[in-house]
């Protein structure tokens, strides 16, 4: 009740603010599930991977123990150096990579919760990569190391776009192949 009351009070404000209020809904956050999208132009591939931090490191709060700090660093290093999409001949190299952690500034301190100390502040990994892959135009099948690397990742939704085709698939844990269906 209290929440809806607050919303009601905010309504005139949001109307006044008009265009300044974002029309964006909060992103879905589902443990075990992540999204990978990549766009291809010639041999250049732009990749984006978005996943709840739980799937990657097993916790969503700031690292407190040494183990957690190490896990976070390992994950960051891995994302910086490993192409998230590769051709069957492993010809992809990382040109640039950016690892972003989102959502950790919303901490509410709910101690004892399964996901650690966060309320509406789930945290996520947002990884963007630019890859250079020779022979990309001829590849009809690509691979991703994500589904074998992270054991908490149960489903990976993959979407791709490129001059030749667009498509989507869903990989289960352990399934690494993406059929482009060209």
């Amino acid at each position: 009740m209290k929440r809806s009351g607050n919303r009601f009070l905010l309504l005139p404000l949001s109307l006044l603010a008009g265009a300044a209020i974002s029309a964006e809904n909060p992103g879905a956050h589902q443990h075990g599930h992540a999204e990978l999208s990549f766009a291809v132009d010639g041999n250049r591939v732009e990749v984006m991977f978005v996943s709840p931090a739980y799937n990657v490191v097993g916790f969503e709060h700031e690292a407190r123990t040494e183990d957690q700090t190490r896990a976070l660093k390992e994950a960051n290093d891995w994302f910086a150096g490993t192409p998230l999409i590769d051709t069957p001949d492993n010809t992809c190299t990382v040109v640039s990579s950016d690892v972003h952690h989102t959502g950790q500034h919303h901490h509410h301190g709910h101690e004892g919760e399964e996901h650690g100390d966060h309320g509406d502040g789930h945290s996520a990994f947002e990884v963007t990569q630019t890859l250079e892959c020779s022979g990309m135009q001829d590849a009809s099948r690509l691979t991703t190391p994500l589904t074998t690397r992270f054991e908490r990742l149960e489903h990976l939704d993959v979407e791709w776009a490129g001059g030749m085709s667009q498509g989507a698939t869903r990989l289960k844990h352990g399934e690494a192949g993406i059929e482009l269906g060209r």
Binding site: A19, A23, A39, D41, G167, A168
Partner: protein, 424 residues
């Protein structure tokens, strides 16, 4: 010699029991047609759907699910939840990442066919199948507010020619009681058939859509406030809103970047979808259903084969004399038993051939109806490897089930104790 004898005996036996076996053959034919038909439709419908749009990187519409947006913009199935502002479209036009935009505005109809208001970018940039453009079979594209171009299916079905005038209806539906009678549109061109939903629509300019709705603000025509073509001359029309936009990007690597930006647009809740991704999702949903359907038809074929065995076993009791004569004239137990297998396979082969004929005839019959009603272009093509394999399993399964009566006969004839006769 022995095989030839077995074949001629089996065929003669089939011919002798043709009345009963014709019914079994009919059941088997229908079930095989069903199996083959489902498999054929699966691949053809998929092919038809995926070739409906190509080369479009994004479709942008009001916030809704990606399948809904895909279905109403591309397939003309269902209706738009909301429109998007013209100002949003103008902003997209200024976006440096975008190469071209095709605005579309829906909502009206002509005798049940969708009216699509668009601009000259539609013939220039819209592609279907393998990057094929939409071209005119006759006439030219609209150059005036009250010009209309008809899809091939509409022109064929209603027998229209360029130069004729038509009255568009307000809203959807085959029978509309509110028509834009003051603003007749002149047909300037007819499109080449594409085998996509493009054939089932009529195309006017965005200005035409605006002009015919002047005086219709309350949902009905207010006498004296609507325009006539004469009054509209020299006026300019700018829409307030459109239904959706097809977007072509300068580089495909920008697709997801722009999609995210549009989905998070601060000015207006928008949905930007990748048509190819939406189609993949559609097939992922349909995939389970397709498999279930194919499984069910597989069981129908098995049921028919079991029926065949039941009939053959029943007939076996009537064949005691025939078998005794065959044995007395020197036929071996193996030969007598093989007759059943040969008969089963022969029946299955006839059923498969009939199923091919029935399937082809049915497909030729329903293809125009599917194209008119669902925009699905199904064509008759030679069977592919999977379909041949599926068809081949029918006689193979028939041979297997034929072993049952064959074994029963073999055992029975051995008990008759005539034994083998030399020289066989």
């Amino acid at each position: 010699m022995k095989t030839g004898l077995a074949l001629s005996l089996a065929l003669a036996s089939l011919w002798h029991r043709r009345r009963v076996l014709a019914l079994v053959c009919l059941t088997l034919t229908l079930s095989v047609s069903l199996l083959l038909g489902i498999q054929y439709l699966r691949t053809e419908v998929r092919q038809s759907f995926t070739s409906t749009i190509s080369g479009t990187d994004l479709i942008v519409g009001a916030r809704s699910g990606q399948l809904n947006l895909l279905l109403y913009t591309v397939f003309h199935i269902g209706d738009a939840t909301n429109n998007i502002r013209w100002s949003t479209f103008r902003k997209l036009q200024e976006d440096q990442r975008i190469d071209w935009l095709i605005p579309i505005s829906l909502g009206d109809s002509y005798r049940g066919y969708r009216v699509v208001a668009t601009d000259r970018n539609f013939p220039e940039h819209f592609r279907y199948g393998q990057e094929q453009p939409v071209s005119l079979a006759e006439g030219k594209w609209f150059s005036d507010v009250f010009h209309v171009v008809l899809g091939a299916g509409v022109a064929r079905e209603l027998g229209h020619q360029p130069g004729e005038e038509i009255i568009l209806s307000h809203g959807g539906g085959r029978t509309s009681f509110s028509n834009h009678e003051d603003t007749p549109f002149r047909i300037t061109g007819i499109l080449e058939p594409t085998g996509t939903p493009v054939d089932q629509a009529v195309y006017i300019s965005l200005e035409g859509m605006e002009a015919m709705h002047v005086g219709w603000e309350s949902g009905v025509a207010i006498p004296g406030r609507t325009l006539t073509p004469e009054k509209a001359k020299g006026m300019t029309f700018t829409p307030d809103a459109i239904t959706a936009v097809y977007v072509g990007l300068k580089s495909p690597v920008l697709t997801f970047q722009l999609q995210r930006a549009l989905n998070q647009s601060a000015e207006e809740p928008l949905s930007a979808i990748l048509p190819g991704v939406a189609l993949s999702e559609l097939w992922r949903l349909m995939g389970q259903f397709e498999k279930a359907l194919l499984g069910i038809t597989g069981f129908v074929v098995i049921t028919s084969l079991v029926g065949l065995v039941a009939v053959l076993l029943t007939l076996q009791t009537q064949r005691a004399h025939e078998i005794a004569v065959l044995r007395a004239t020197g036929a071996s137990t193996g030969l007598v038993a093989s007759l059943h297998v040969i008969e089963c396979v022969a029946l299955a082969l006839v059923s498969c051939l009939l199923a091919l004929a029935v399937g082809s005839a049915l497909l030729t019959g329903i293809a125009p109806w599917l194209l008119d009603n669902y925009g699905l272009n199904l064509t008759l093509r030679p069977l592919n490897g999977t379909e041949w394999a599926l068809l081949a399993t029918v006689p193979a399964a028939a041979a297997l089930v034929g072993l049952l009566p064959a074994f029963a006969t073999w055992r029975k004839t051995r008990h008759q104790g005539l034994g083998e006769i030399g020289g066989q």
